[in-house]
């Protein structure tokens, strides 16, 4: 259907030529459409949010179980949470979430949900499992936008080396196990392997794992001890005493 000539003229007209009546009618119709869209989105959001949150929680739990040995903790880990904002004065300068696993009430394991800055396609989401004695249980990439087929070997599902994926070299390490200067990829003079041609992604992850381990080693007691109530302020108060 070809629009009528007067319609074309109206569309081409400068704003001052459009009668107020027509402009008002358009405005009202646009407002009605906006209201209906908003209503639809509000309804769908309300209906889907609880289901979505439950499935996100289950997904996170599955990722955590992948790096933690069975039975290492006996509390409800995903509810024992500590959230930290980015803090330029500490080793860990990205917003992070700490899940605190305890066994018979004693600290057993920390799972840190954090991110590595400086990935090729933006920040890389990481899940890092650390035993109470400071040794690494494992690292998993939860979210990344590295180049497919090139930098995405950081995700063990995409790594061509199935038996011994790149990310597995972190298992069993601790911050004290290697001098701080060696926490780099080999190309930068450190002791971590990487795949030639894709250095950016592993470099970002090695740095993030180092920073997280350092942060945890520095304030180990504080991280387990802070009650859940208002954890962020509690930690910043108590950490003031630790770092003069």
């Amino acid at each position: 259907m070809i629009p009528a000539e007067n319609e074309v003229a109206r569309a081409l007209a400068t704003p001052s030529d459009i009668p107020v009546r027509v402009a008002l009618r358009s405005a009202v119709i646009l407002a009605i459409f906006t209201a209906i869209s908003t209503l639809l989105l509000a309804v769908s959001h309300t209906l889907t949010r609880p289901v979505m949150e439950a499935s996100l929680r289950a997904k996170r739990m599955r990722a955590i179980e992948e790096i933690l040995p069975h039975g290492i903790y006996d509390n409800d880990l995903v509810s024992d949470v500590l959230r930290l904002d980015a803090d330029p004065s500490s080793a860990l300068n990205v917003p992070s979430v700490f899940y605190r696993g305890r066994r018979n009430g004693a600290p057993a394991v920390l799972v840190v949900e954090t991110s590595a800055r400086g990935g090729y396609g933006g920040p890389i989401g990481l899940l890092i499992g650390i035993r109470a004695d400071g040794t690494l249980l494992g690292v998993r990439v939860t979210e990344h936008r590295e180049t497919p087929g090139l930098g995405d070997y950081i995700d063990p599902k995409k790594d061509k080396n199935r038996k011994n994926p790149w990310i597995a070299q972190f298992g069993g390490l601790s911050f004290g196990a290697r001098p701080e200067s060696e926490w780099k990829v080999r190309k930068d003079g450190g002791s971590f392997d990487f795949i030639a041609g894709a250095t950016v992604s592993p470099r970002a992850i090695v740095r993030a794992v180092r920073d997280t381990l350092k942060f945890v080693a520095e304030r180990h007691e504080t991280l387990y001890g802070v009650p859940e109530k208002d954890p962020v302020t509690a930690l910043s108060h108590s950490s003031q005493g630790d770092t003069p």
């Binding site: 358009s26 869209s37 209906l47």
Partner: protein, 231 residues
Amino acid sequence: MITRAELREIFANGIWKQNSSLAQTLGLCPLLAVTTTLVNGAMLSLATLLVTALSGFSVSCLRKFIPHEIRMPIFIMIAATLVTIVDQCMASWLSEIHNVLGIFIPLIITNCIVFARIEAFAAKNGPIQSFFDGISMGIGMLWTLVVLGGLRELLGSGTLFSGVESIIPSLSGLRVFGDDYPGAIFFVLPPGAFILLAFMIAAKNALSSRRSDVSVHPVESAARQAMDTSR
């Protein structure tokens, strides 16, 4: 409601004559970004198919209430609302598939083909015709992206169907060239996609011109056709 001839015409247009990627060359940005593997290409196309079909249907139903001069903001709002609702529903009830498709769904709204079909077809045709037009455009995109994604995956990484296990857990990807294939990064990166797409367009043009033996340049005639319908 809809005649068989109409249906045939709609599907011939969407799948071959006015194929969104090969004839109208619309939506190239998501196409280049996503077709690194066959499965990714297929998934983005299926999600787009859903949105083109639903948005075509709803715009066509509402077309009598949409004034000509403010049709664009309203079309955008309808399409964006649909994309968001589809995204939320998938995140809730199809969370496994959403994990795979999650990044592609917001990309759909950046695909010009959605607006091109609303403007060129749904605003002027009935709801059922518009619904099938959306489906046929989606199928056209699906086969193109499957071929392009398959070629890039095969040449770039030596695999096929990798990532299929996240959709159907009992299946797994194929290593066509064995574990020793060194890979060709060129085909994984966007320039490789551009060049392969150019070969596909050339092949389509060669086939169409042989079939109909028209003297007009196929791309030009397709472009003219697209412009005629959108006028």
